[in-house]
């Protein structure tokens, strides 16, 4: 077994676009679920809207790339309102089912043949990179050291993504220590008490849904930046992986979702390299390499169960911050 190769294939994921994108989306979920107690199971839908808004703005309407990102944020805000106005008054588990259904509707609408002209149906969209790459300040060439060697586009995507992530984390940190953030946490702990103080709970929940949803859309954009937009990515499993990431790091924390995402992807990458390698040297005699790479998803499911049961506050969370109310 080539441990050097496995190690270098693994550490790349410390700053991969996927880790950054999932971190952004999970940060949005932290705003929804961790701070406000909204059980949003439709984050995949927000990500799909961000990614498709970006790609369609560029491909079908010829807009500049940065306008595409802004449109993604606007579209996710609209989606948050459509979702939130009727459902934010519902009980937590009802909200979960409505959001999961809404995200599936979004995915099916992007997959159907009906809007093929814009969405290219199940094949997805690609070739929208020119504008973003033209804006790249890094001169052509390959940079970096060891496993972190990318060309100018690879670095530009990563730097841009990390910048977005840092700004988003800063925003969350600032708003959650403001009086506004304390109201959100109050809603999470006891909605009726906050209402008794004269706060408009519905309006606060809606603001939380919009902000978290915008982070989800940005996550979708970052996921779309290096490669392509394919509808089959935005399935409900994506949302569930985001919950695994969020709960791993700690739901009501700023760094939890980010570290959770990095840990999640590094472990996934490590397993996807090491398990087939173990099969090839005969250390896992009862399975083939395809089964070995399926094994890690079984472990994700098991990990999600174990975290929720035994350490619901995550790596960074504080047990006093009750993230699971009622």
């Amino acid at each position: 077994m080539d441990w050097g190769q496995i190690l270098s294939n693994t550490v790349v994921w410390l700053i991969s676009p996927e880790s950054i994108a999932y971190g952004l989306a999970a940060l949005g979920l932290a705003v929804h679920f961790g701070y406000t107690g909204l059980l949003n199971f439709g984050q995949a839908g927000f990500m799909a809207i961000g990614a498709y808004s970006y790609a369609i703005s560029i491909l079908s309407f010829g807009l500049p790339w940065w306008v595409g990102i802004l449109i993604g944020i606007v579209a996710s805000t609209v989606f948050a309102f459509i979702l939130g106005i009727p459902t934010l008054r519902l009980r937590a588990d009802y909200l979960a089912i409505v959001t999961i259904a809404a995200a599936e509707i979004v995915r099916l609408l992007f997959t159907t043949q009906v809007f093929d002209e814009f969405t290219n149906s199940a094949d997805g969209l690609g070739n929208y990179h020119q504008g973003f790459r033209d804006a790249n300040p890094i001169p052509e060439g390959t940079y970096g050291f060891g496993p972190f060697t990318f060309n100018e586009n690879g670095w530009w995507v990563r730097i841009f993504g990390i910048a977005l992530l840092v700004i988003a984390a800063l925003i969350v940190w600032l708003i959650m220590r403001s009086p506004w953030g304390r109201v959100l946490k109050g809603i999470r702990e006891d909605e009726d008490a906050v209402r008794a103080l004269g706060k408009n709970v519905f309006s606060y929940k809606m603001q939380s849904l919009v902000i978290g949803g915008a982070f989800g859309a940005l996550g979708g954009v970052v996921l779309a930046l290096p490669s392509a937009v394919v509808p089959s990515v935005y399935v409900t499993s994506l949302t569930f992986f985001l919950y695994t990431i969020l709960l791993l790091g700690g739901a009501a924390t700023v760094f939890g979702p980010i570290v959770g995402s990095i840990v999640f992807w590094v472990i996934m990458a490590f397993l996807s390299n090491v398990l087939p390698a173990l099969v090839n040297v005969g250390a896992l005699p009862f399975m083939n390499t395809i089964q070995a790479s399926t094994l890690r998803f079984i472990l994700v499911g098991a990990a999600l169960m174990l975290i929720v049961i035994f350490r619901p506050q995550g790596i960074f969370g504080n047990k006093k911050e009750l993230t699971f109310v009622k």
């Binding site: 059980l39 009727p86 459902t87 519902l90 009980r91 937590a92 588990d93 009802y94 979960a96 089912i97 409505v98 999961i100 259904a101 809404a102 599936e104 509707i105 099916l108 609408l109 997959t111 159907t112 043949q113 009906v114 290219n120 094949d123 997805g124 690609g126 392509a228 394919v230 409900t236 499993s237 569930f240 919950y243 695994t244 709960l247 399975m287 395809i290 089964q291 399926t294 094994l295 998803f297 079984i298 994700v300 499911g301 098991a302 990990a303 999600l304 169960m305 174990l306 929720v308 049961i309 619901p312 699971f324 109310v325 009622k326």
Partner: protein
């Protein structure tokens, strides 16, 4: 235009697969060029030979005529947008391109291959009347709805007795189908299907028992919150699903006898023997469950717990025992539903259950969370809605209708059709 959707099915997008197949499409320019359009011209599932297809764009033109299998392939020099035209005069008399017209603007997706399909239909002449189609869709919808009901009752009873929205229920559905496959599949044990089904149902019930004993009961004892339990069920769903994928791979399997011949019943309504048997089984089993709920001690106890768990416990009902029975029964019914659904789809796949999980939730919510009869009513409505709506909306959007209903019900009448208002917190 609704007539005879002789849908032209996607020729395989992967060249590797299509070259491996025994049928050779009539091919033009596929050797010179990397980018390939392909298609399969069929009318009412009969392949049409000698239909002329033209590809035009970027100064390049090519023509091809479909072979005896109705297949064609054209290679083009670059990844760009082309106009693909089907020459309607080469179609048999009375057949035209029903949707979008004979001309299509097509471009490549992320691969070098793109399948181009034309929806053919019987000219202006409508051979199947709208009423006949409606009846056929309704019969199919009833079949699907009864199947959903079998799965939904488990979700509803578990929710009623424990308050858990069980996201892993879809995996119990898949489990039943996979167990039936293991005992009856030709590549596996190959026993007769009427032996395999009871075994699969019993094993599904067993899985429910094991899950309750090993997971849900300890968590209830620990006093874990409902939202936490719901996320645990999501973790369980992911783990189980990929365990299936681990053992069965990504392929689709068929149970013996699926895709059998259709019998004409009345008008244009055709059903296979399996459809009829499946509907019969569903109705008998659902009637038995209804009897159990209404007339037996345990059934009454179940309803009492759904109504008010502490009151039921105070009046001497062994709540834990009833919940255990509910888990066993719910899982067994889900397993049976999975077997029937494997025939209805048709096919068994590791993630087949997730496809109907939201429909099950929609059915349960529509009928009224926690009420078993509500689940039945909701399931039949959802089944009918999904099937009948395909008369007006494209079939790849048929689940959207059901999901929209789910959302609307939660907004307008969150307690559902048969639910009572006080149950909603």
């Amino acid at each position: 235009m609704t007539a005879l959707f002789a849908a032209a099915f996607a020729a395989l997008a992967l060249t590797s697969m299509s070259t491996a197949s025994a049928v050779h499409a009539d091919e033009v320019g596929t050797d010179e060029y990397d980018y390939i359009f392909s298609g399969n011209v069929k009318n009412d599932n009969v392949p049409l030979e000698d239909v002329k297809i033209t590809v035009e764009g970027g100064g390049y033109t090519a023509e091809v005529v479909t072979d005896a299998e109705g297949q064609w392939k054209i290679g083009v020099p670059e990844k760009a947008t082309y106009t693909v035209t089907l020459d309607e005069s080469t179609l048999p008399a009375g057949v035209i391109v029903a949707e979008e017209g004979p001309e299509k603007e097509v471009e490549f997706g992320l691969t070098k291959n793109k399948s181009v399909n034309f929806f053919l239909g019987e000219g202006v002449r409508v051979t199947v009347s709208f009423a006949d189609q409606l009846v056929e869709r309704i019969v199919n919808g009833l079949n699907f709805g009864l199947m959903l009901a079998l799965a939904a009752i488990g979700v509803s009873l578990v929710f009623g007795t424990t308050g858990l929205s069980n996201f892993a229920h879809s995996e119990l559905v898949t489990f039943g189908a996979l167990m039936a496959l293991i005992f009856s599949g030709t590549a596996f044990l190959g026993w007769p299907i009427y032996v395999a089904i009871p075994i699969a149902v019993v094993l599904s019930g067993g899985l429910g028992y094991v899950l309750d004993l090993g997971l849900w009961r300890p968590l209830r004892k620990k006093g874990v919150g409902l939202v936490q339990l719901m996320i645990v069920s999501i973790g369980l769903s992911l783990a189980l699903r990929y365990i299936y994928s681990f053992f069965f791979g990504g392929g689709t399997y068929q149970l013996p006898g699926s895709g059998g011949d259709n019998i004409e019943l009345f008008g244009s309504v055709k059903l296979s023997v399996i459809d009829l048997v499946s509907m019969g089984i569903s109705i008998v089993v659902l009637a038995a469950v209804a009897f159990w709920l209404l007339r037996t001690r345990i059934g009454k106890a179940t309803r009492a717990i759904s109504d008010n768990a502490s009151l039921a416990a105070a009046s001497g009902i062994d709540v834990d025992r009833v919940i255990r029975i509910v888990w066993i029964l719910g899982s067994a019914l889900a397993g049976l539903s999975g077997i029937l659904w494997a025939y209805f789809r048709p096919g068994i796949k590791w993630d087949m259950g997730t496809g109907i999980l939201l429909l099950i939730f929609a059915a349960v919510t529509l009928g009224g969370l926690g009420t078993a009869f509500g689940a039945l009513v909701g399931s039949i409505i959802i089944g009918l809605l999904v099937e009948v709506s395909t008369l007006w909306i494209p079939s790849d959007l048929k689940y959207v209708g059901a999901l929209v209903v789910l959302i609307l019900v939660l907004l307008v009448r969150p307690q559902g059709i048969l639910g009572r208002k006080e149950r909603i917190g």
